[in-house]
Each structure stands twice: as C-alpha cells, then as structure tokens.
Symmetry: C2
Subunit: 399 residues, 2 copies
Amino acid sequence: MTASLLIRNVRPNAGPALDILIENGRIARMAKDIAAPAGVAVEDGRGEIAIPGLVEAHTHLDKSLWGQPWYVNEVGPKLLDKIDNERLNKRRLDLDPARQSARQTVQSSLMGSTHIRSHVDVDTDHGMWGVEGVMQTRDGYRDIVDIELVAFPQSGLLRRPGTLELMDQAMKAGCEIVGGLDPCAIDRDPKGHLDAIFGLCQTYGKPLDIHLHEPGEMGAFSMDLIMERTRALGMKGKVTISHAFCLGSPDPALVDPLIAQLAELDIAIMTTAPSRSAAPPVKKLLDAGVRVCSGSDGIRDTWGPYGNADMVERAMFIGLRNNFRRDDEVDLGLDVCTTGGAAVMEIADYGLAEGKAADLVIMPGESLTELVVTRSPKRRVVKRGRVVARDGVSVRTAP
Amino acid sequence: MTASLLIRNVRPNAGPALDILIENGRIARMAKDIAAPAGVAVEDGRGEIAIPGLVEAHTHLDKSLWGQPWYVNEVGPKLLDKIDNERLNKRRLDLDPARQSARQTVQSSLMGSTHIRSHVDVDTDHGMWGVEGVMQTRDGYRDIVDIELVAFPQSGLLRRPGTLELMDQAMKAGCEIVGGLDPCAIDRDPKGHLDAIFGLCQTYGKPLDIHLHEPGEMGAFSMDLIMERTRALGMKGKVTISHAFCLGSPDPALVDPLIAQLAELDIAIMTTAPSRSAAPPVKKLLDAGVRVCSGSDGIRDTWGPYGNADMVERAMFIGLRNNFRRDDEVDLGLDVCTTGGAAVMEIADYGLAEGKAADLVIMPGESLTELVVTRSPKRRVVKRGRVVARDGVSVRTAP
C-alpha cells in the first residue's frame, strides 16, 4: 500500500524547514513552498523534525508477552535456565507467535519503526510454529512495517538433533537470514555449529546473523572462526554478529585486531548497548568503518520484563552506555538506529532524499539530540507515504 | 499545606485494594469501604497501585538547563573540562539557580518525587548564588516537594582558596548536609579535603554526603579514609557516599572488605546505576544491610543532555545495570528509589501506613515490576494529602 502526501513545514534531520512531497510512496520533492497537487492530502509538519524510519534490527517478535496477563518471572540465573524455561512454557503461557508478533509489530510502528529484523525460534518442540506465525504477521502488517525473518536455533543446533533439519525447512519456507548462537558456550562444538550454519547460507544464498554472547577470549575465538569462514566462502558484507560482547573487553590487544578484520570483511555488528555486559565500543567501530545497527532484543518476554520497542530510547541507551555527552556523539546513537540499521538490513531506497521510499518519523524538538533524550510520545509515523501512527494511535489493531 | 482526602479503591504496593483516608496530611486509616467524612474530597483510585512518594536522593537542582533554549554540548572529554566549562559559562547561559531549580522541582513532582536531596554548587566565582536560589525554591515549593540542600564544592575545595570559607557560609545559611568531592582526583589532597569537610560536619552537627567517582584502588583508598573518620568522629549512620564507582570493581578482595565496613558504620551508598562506569552492586549491598538510595544526578545540564527526573525510570536503570530480571529483583530497584531514599534522607513518617505522612504516587499496573518497566506517564502525585500532579499537569507552575 503506497500513498501520496504533502508534508508541510518539517525539518529533515533537524535541518531547515521544507515541504516534502510524496508521490506513490516515494519522496518526489523536498523544497520550500511546494504547491499541493490536486487530491493529495496535506500534513502540517508544525516545524517539527523528520527522521528516516527507525530500524529495529534485532528483536524476537515470536515470543513477547506483550498484551498478556502479567508474567511473574522467577527464573534461575543461568542462560540455559532462561532458554529451557521459555521453551518449556511457551504453550502453557499461550504465546501464539502470530498474535504476539502482531502485537509487538503494532507497538514498534507506534514508536516509529518502519523496518524490523526478527530472529524467530526454531526448535524441535515447536517446529515451524514461530516461523509460520511471524510470516503471517509479516504478510498481514506489510502496510505498516517491513519485516524480515532470521531462522534462529535458540535452544541450540547440534545439541538438539533434528534442529538443523528444521532450520533447513525454515529457510525453504522463506526466512531471509540464517541465524546461529554461541557456537562454544551453547552448542559446545564451534566447528560443527559454524560449518552447519554457513552451509545453510551457501545452500540458500542467504546472509548470516549470529548471536554471539560469548565474552572475552572465548568470544574472540568464535569471532575468529566466523571471520575465517566469511573470508573463505566469499561472504564479505553478508554477515552480522549480534551482541558481540567480546568486543567490550578492556584489552585493546584482544579487541583491536578483531575490529580491523571486521572492517576488512565488512561484517556488521548489532549491539543493544546493554548496561550490564561488556558492550562493543560504538564510536570505535564506526570510526573503523564497521556497519553498526541496534535493536530492542526481547521485549517483555520470559527472559525479562524490560522493553517498549522504542528505538529512540535505544539510541539514548547507546549514548548512555558509550558515555556520549556531546551532541555530535549522542547523534551517533540515532544514526545507528536509522541509517546503521538500514545499511545492515540492506534496505533499498532508504533515507530522506528525493527518490527514496517515504518511510519517516515526525517528532517535536529543536535538535536531534533533544529527540533522543526527550523520547517524546508525540510521533507521527509515515510508511510509504501514509500516516500509519499518530500520537500513540495506529491505523492497525493487533489481535 | 496539608489536606484531607479519601482515596478509594487503590492497591498499596500492589497489594489488595483498599481505601486510604487521609486527615490533615497524614494517613489516618487504610481499610476496605471507608465512609467518606463530611467535606472530604474523594479520589477514585480505579484499582491502580499506590506507592510511597519517590525519593530523588541525588540531583543538582541549581544547574539544570531545563526550559532553556537547547544547549549544544561541545565539551572536552575530561572531568575537569566539564567542571570548568560549567563554572565559566553559568552566567552566559543565564542559569539562574532560583528559576532552574524551580523548573526541575516541578518536573520532579510531575514524575512523582515528593522528596529531593540536592547538591548545590559552592565556588568562588558564584559564592552563595546557587544556595540562595535553591533555598528560594525549597521555601517556595514546599507544598509539592520537600527539598534538602548539600553544600557542594563542585570545583574543588582546597585547590580553589576561599571555597572552604564559602562552604562554612553555606552551612551557616542553612544547608542541611555537608558535601565533598573526589579528595584524591580533584583536590589532590585527600587528608586535607576530608579533614576540612568532616570538620564542617563537626562544627555544624550535620551529616556528610560526598561525591566519590574515584575508581578502583584510588577510590578504595579514599573510601577507607572516609570510614576511618566516620568511626573516629562517631558519625555512624551520618555519612553517604555518592557514586562509589570503586565498589563496582570486579575484584572481591577489594570490594568485600569495603562493604563489610560500610555495613558496620552504617554508611549509605547512592548510585545512579550508571551504564558506562563500574557501579556498586545493589543486591550485594542490600544483602549486607547497607542503606542504598538513588538519584537522577544532573538533569539536562552542561555535563550531558540526559535525564527527565523520573525515579521510576531510575528504578528501571538500576534493574538493567544489575541484571535484575526476576520480579523480586526488579522490585528492589523501586525499593531503592522509595524506602531506600527515605532511609538515607532520614525522612520521618515515611511510608504507606497509618500515621505516616500522606506522600504517595498512584500509577496503573498489575504489579510493581510492571510499574517499573512501563513507566506510565499517567500518574497522580499526592503530597501531604493533596493531589499536586495529575497526568503530567502540576498544581504549580515554574517561572
């Protein structure tokens, strides 16, 4: 669904006020005092700031508890406690992936996201339940958000026989990206895990986005194995490493050579800017030329209660985590949550320029930095030229 | 100013629904189906949760930029860059402490704070300007928030001759607490600095609240000197150490003996739960019996653009920083921002119980954990029995 629209008096990326003429879902002109073509709706920008649509580049649409009765979390401290608790309770908690992904998608759109990359659980207890549910949302909510799916072996790949076959099935079903998870810490067979997921990438000609929580030296070892395969298989520019806590190690002798290789192989990094784990240094990565994106990760799920799908708030977290205080630094966080995500998701026609898709967010503020720290709920979200959300009310409802 | 009020159908600390009868600013009864006394206003609690008033136990009311034109931060990376930039630009930026503290106070009240401890700059460039301005707000806005002042040598005490005399003047003028700052890193004379500020405590019979950003071994050394004086001068229970980054050291051999001494001397710890610095381990401190409070620190000032005075959001930051995921853990963050702050500020008659002052916040949610992660702007704030803020609108306006 595309639309035409004239947005008057809006400030693209906090620059001078302009009008933006959108024709059939694309930005046709950006100039002062554009005459409204006959029959085209006019939106008063009120001198507010327009930014390109926010990019939620890492979340788990299939398993949010959003809209369900409050879930009291009493889960144990280990990573495997959380993984097992979730898999074993998904049906009991009635976490229907189609419904839950629709709910989170509408919430994301309200907050200004126009694109989402979602990892989706693939495991032997639930088979294609998650993939089919999120695909239903992807197809059913295409008018407000573009969604791509990563087939994700959340419970491990080799340690649970049958999962690799299901991953294969998920790729056949139309997942856009191959996922993976902690080849040492979870699967305990880094060579086996990485050979399997890179094999899927080769079979289906698809990119990789692997969760790598492993810290320090162990994470650096896994990252090295990932880079080795990226180079050998000619997958430059087609790999994302999510979390990458090992890059937050305080030892430059460990981190700097990894960053140099990431840049050389054009491997992207996704960080949520976690406040409790070692976190990749965003400015250092950007300065080295590495593509960096961000995401909410799980939103109000059995892992933890946090999250609201607000990628402007996420930009603030990036700033807080990286000690960005100068305006030019704080704005980097917003770049990561917009153009950074678009570069990682290879979104064609992204940005506020003539000829690009008319996906944008209008928010009040004097400067981009003010947008980030204020996180105003007064947002107008435009997807392909149509206002799909206005001050917390969406054109769509979730089940 | 006190008032009488009957709040119907509200859930104190997310427990069963009750009515709360407030008489002359105090909670007179909490029970089911209380008959409304003649002439007493009735507030429908709508089954929402009531928590005791939030306690902002560490901020800087005198120097927020709140309500001013957007300030573009281009300051250098060092702590002294930020200190000097602020002191040298305060007049140019028209940071009138009376006006700015009033603005932040109203914002704090909107978010649910009923008590504030504010550090207030005392330096040779501005003398009593800050103290007088914040005292004006303390006296003028007493109906919505109780404020106490810490005389704070932000630019250093001994390194800038004349400051100690001004600190003495600030205590004479009625500051409730003596402040201090990084005796090694800023004043470069730990013995001299600590002897001077503990001397002020002795002279005026007042407690101490010292900023201690010093990390690792240096911070542990300064903390040790503080504890030595606390013991020698009989100031058990009268000292707060703010920030205390050294307690976030990963070395238990450094941290554990410090925590044991803090507990023994009943020295309180204030943490903002910073996401970029080493941060005190909140649960470990609470388990050891240490009083822990929290605060927003500077809100939108020349140091950085962040902050909105929301102590519910601060509780979330405490949870995120300490990896609190279980509901019982997340709720600890809210405890720190309510009863923890009250214990540190020695607020008499605090809490949701008969006989206590009727300072409370009503917010929608199923559980305390949901309050923390949702941070709803729909808040009703009651100060001494009077509804002083409702859904973002205060009974007071700021200049």
